[in-house]
């Protein structure tokens, strides 16, 4: 009722009626220019939605699943139409197909991660073998060019309990860390870096109660029931941390953050209003503390590096790259180049699929060229799948801004500032 009082009549949540057909979105769609089978964001989104509302038979599964869900159309739209949401919501609403075995495997990052971590040395060696990659290509249609991220022998959660949990006692302020699957199963070092920085800044780091995968891969692969279940579990955990324990939640992945904040309510209908504002990227959390004068970071005098920042699509949508780049610019010995914001093409599990390999690499090509033409030590970005794509497709090495901060930070000097 409230909505009808404050808004014009018949305005849907994704605002598709506001589309004025200006076609600006199509200019910035990374898919349309490399794959003509994709009808483009305007046609697949608001235009198609008009037809689908009249008759669901207008739903074209094969065409709509070519959307990367990068949301660059939404960033470009001057009329506030949530074009990406319109497309993803249509896939959820109308799709009758059951996900393939391959898609289910790739989407279940928690299950696969748990098994693979237990047998990490074997799994890492096996999936790196050419014949194995050829078989996966033929049988599962996972493109043989893809190099799987290595699994870590020890999960981040295990490390945390063994080596970090005890040191988290005695802080006056806490955050909870949503580490996500990548940190837990593939790259615990990033989580260790986060703990190091937050502790230096005067914050103890807790884990969430029963953290589940954010579910972004489940959503994109059509496993909506499971995604919704995990979203509910995560929101329960967020509520406990934020509302009961007073500990805001930080993450080091732009996509996990974006999914929890925006895809939960928009696509899965899981309400998060009471915790959304306090669920954010660690770089934004730190920026706020520094900007308001509550925190000062001291950096090592002898640290020097040259980096280029790549804006992941979901970071572009959040509008938050300024937090990560502002923190990086605070490091005296760091020289920062800002890359023109372009999609890398991988879009989570999309680029792993054999049928999407060419599109993914075509989409990423302009970014790869930019990177090859930039002379830096590291590419810095807030997204793990961008990292895999860039490291596979260019000669660049990729780091998360939190890892760069952890390298550059003078922990003792920073702690002294608030301990006295």
């Amino acid at each position: 009722m409230k909505k009808q009082q404050n808004k014009p009549f018949n305005i849907s949540d994704n605002n598709f009626e506001q589309c004025v057909k200006c076609t600006v979105c199509t200019v910035y769609c990374p898919v349309v220019q490399v794959n003509p089978d994709y009808p483009g964001p305007k046609q697949a989104g608001p235009d198609g939605e008009r037809l689908r509302l009249k008759d669901p038979n207008f739903f074209d599964e094969e065409a709509l699943k070519l959307c990367l869900n990068c949301k660059r159309c939404e960033v470009a739209c001057p009329s506030g139409v949530k074009i990406g949401d319109v497309i993803q919501a249509a896939r959820i609403k109308y799709s009758r197909k059951r996900p393939k075995l391959r898609d289910s495997i790739m989407a279940n990052t928690d299950l696969v991660g748990t098994v693979a971590s237990a047998f990490a040395p074997i799994v890492n060696t096996t999936v790196a073998l050419k014949p194995v990659r050829q078989i996966m290509d033929k049988v599962l249609k996972i493109d043989h060019h893809r190099i799987f991220p290595k699994y870590s022998g020890e999960k981040f959660e295990t490390w945390y309990r063994k080596h970090a949990a005890a040191q988290q006692q005695g802080f006056s302020k806490y955050v909870s860390y949503f580490h996500g699957c990548y940190v837990n199963y593939n790259f615990p070092q990033l989580g260790k870096d986060l703990v190091k920085i937050m502790n230096a800044a005067g914050y103890g780091v807790d884990l969430l109660e029963k953290e589940k995968c954010c579910g972004v891969a489940l959503i994109s692969n059509g496993l909506i029931k499971q995604a919704t279940k995990q979203a509910r579990q995560n929101v329960r955990a967020l509520r406990k941390s934020i509302l009961q324990n007073g500990a805001p939640v930080v993450s080091t992945s732009s996509t996990c953050t974006f999914t929890i904040r925006d895809e939960y309510p928009h696509l899965l209908g899981v309400k998060n209003d009471d915790v959304r504002d306090q669920t954010e990227l660690a770089t934004r959390f730190l920026f706020r503390l520094i900007d308001s004068g509550e925190l000062k970071l001291v950096f090592k005098k002898d640290y020097t590096t040259r980096v280029a920042y790549h804006t992941p699509c979901h970071m572009e949508k959040l509008g938050w790259s300024i937090y990560s780049t502002s923190l990086l610019r605070m490091i005296p010995g760091l020289k920062l180049v800002q890359l023109e914001s372009q999609c890398c093409g991988i879009a989570g599990t999309y680029g792993f699929k054999k049928e999407n390999y060419e599109t993914a690499q075509g989409v990423g090509q302009p970014l790869f060229t930019q990177i090859e033409n930039t002379d830096v030590d590291y590419i810095v970005t807030d997204c793990e799948t961008c990292k895999w794509q860039i490291e596979m497709s260019t000669s660049g090495k990729v780091k998360n801004p939190i890892s760069i901060l952890a390298e550059a930070l003078d922990v003792e000097a920073t702690q002294k500032l608030w301990q006295k």
Partner: protein, 413 residues
């Protein structure tokens, strides 16, 4: 987050103001709710094309005939002359080269095959001294097969009236077959991307040469050079006959290129461009705007010494018409416009529509008014100002850029 100046609106006005300030060492942020109307750019900027229905020869002289409430009159005749002279230099520093001058309008050919007076024309396009005198006997209008956004018969009809004999032809090439498979995406920007990528231009130029041996001029849609700025010049060098480009339906290729170059210039000068974010409200204290809240940044507010409202007119939601009132959706500033809905429009569609003149009220220093009082540090620039009918006058771009530079000068004082 603290800046010297925060500009609300990332279109022609906001970017012009931001570049001018950033060139003077001011730390600026621009908040833009999406891509701007520069994507509809025809290739020319108008200063003043018509006054009271009569074509203008010298815009600087004709400005004196405008009502005192018109933005040009409020900027002042001498200031307009000075600032209009500054505009092409500012654009050139961003890599956008225009010809034309404020003392005398030149003419350009429109996609209807007619001619219109204008102030500045991008180097891709062709300028004419006089209206109606075309230097050709025979013209060939070429289009891409399957491209629906360029209407060759309109051009033919128009040019025939000027006494030019016109042939229309289509060109098909295998490089464009892929995008043709998707008729709704056979757009100028996608054609431009094919040329940007490299190898199509040589072959295209050869085909053009074959098809236009007996013509004095080749007319083509302006679909060259989106991200690659040298494509238009390359094309003109390879085609033997003079090439005249005409605008296709938007999104405009030269427009997108212009938007990108202006935004890059602003960022290279240290400016922060926040795209896809919406300003929700402001906090006022003792007649000053303290900070603004945006959708993306939430509790991290954008603070500044000065703010500029360059949020556009109705189309960009700089002002909004509700069922019974006009309002500025961000701050609720005073609106210069009728409160009675029945006075908003004239039932004769082609008459000068009153609503076109509506905008945010500003004092003589272009500071916005709230409840009758000027906000000391909130300036208004561009089409959100009102006081003009850009459509009738041919004055939209001129007002955007001249008022943006004027406001920048107020801030720099």
């Amino acid at each position: 987050m603290k800046f010297d100046t925060v500009i609300i609106g990332g279109g022609l006005s906001g970017l012009t103001c931001g570049i001018q300030l950033a060139e003077q060492g001011i730390t600026c942020a621009i908040v833009s709710s999406g891509q701007s109307a520069i994507h509809f750019f025809s290739g020319s900027f108008d200063l003043l094309g018509k006054v009271e229905g009569r074509e203008v020869t010298n815009p600087l002289e004709s400005i004196k005939m405008l009502p005192p409430s018109h933005p040009y009159q409020r900027v002042g005749h001498h200031n307009v002359e000075r600032l209009a002279g500054e505009v092409p230099r500012l654009l050139a520093r961003a890599g956008l080269h225009f010809s034309g001058m404020a003392e005398k309008n030149h003419f350009v050919l429109t996609p209807m095959g007619t001619m219109k007076p204008t102030w500045l024309t991008l180097e891709d396009f062709t300028c004419f001294e006089q209206n109606g005198e075309l230097p050709w006997k025979r013209a060939t209008v070429l289009n891409f097969k399957g491209f629906l956004d360029f209407h060759t018969l309109f051009i033919k009809d128009g040019l025939t009236r000027y006494g030019v004999e016109v042939q229309t032809r289509d060109i098909a090439m295998k490089q464009f077959e892929a995008i043709r498979r998707n008729p709704s995406e056979m757009r100028s920007s996608n054609i431009a991307k094919v040329f940007d990528a490299g190898d199509a231009l040589n072959q295209f130029a050869e085909k053009v040469n074959e098809l236009t041996e007996d013509a004095d001029v080749v007319i083509l849609p302006a679909v060259f050079g989106l991200f690659n700025t040298t494509v238009t010049a390359d094309l003109k060098a390879r085609v033997k006959k003079p090439v005249v480009l005409l605008p296709a339906l938007p999104p405009s290729t030269p427009g997108i290129r212009s938007q990108i170059l202006l935004r890059q210039r602003f960022q290279e000068l240290g400016g922060t461009y926040l795209l896809g974010d919406i300003v929700q409200e402001g906090e006022f204290k003792e007649g000053r705007l303290q900070n603004i809240t945006t959708a993306n940044h939430g509790d991290i507010k954008l603070e500044a010494d000065h703010f500029v409202l360059a949020s556009g007119s109705f189309y960009s939601k700089g002002i909004v018409a509700g069922p019974d009132k006009l309002y500025d959706p961000i701050f609720g500033l005073d609106i210069d416009g009728e409160s009675d809905r029945s006075q908003w429009f004239d039932k004769q569609l082609f008459n000068d529509q009153p609503f076109m003149h509506y905008g945010v009220k500003a004092d003589e220093h272009f500071r916005a008014l709230l409840n009758g009082q000027p906000i000391e540090n909130l300036y208004v620039a561009g089409s959100v100002l009102g006081g003009a009918n850009p459509l009738k006058e041919g004055s939209g771009a001129g007002i955007c850029m001249v008022t943006a530079l004027h406001v920048a000068e107020q801030i720099l004082q």
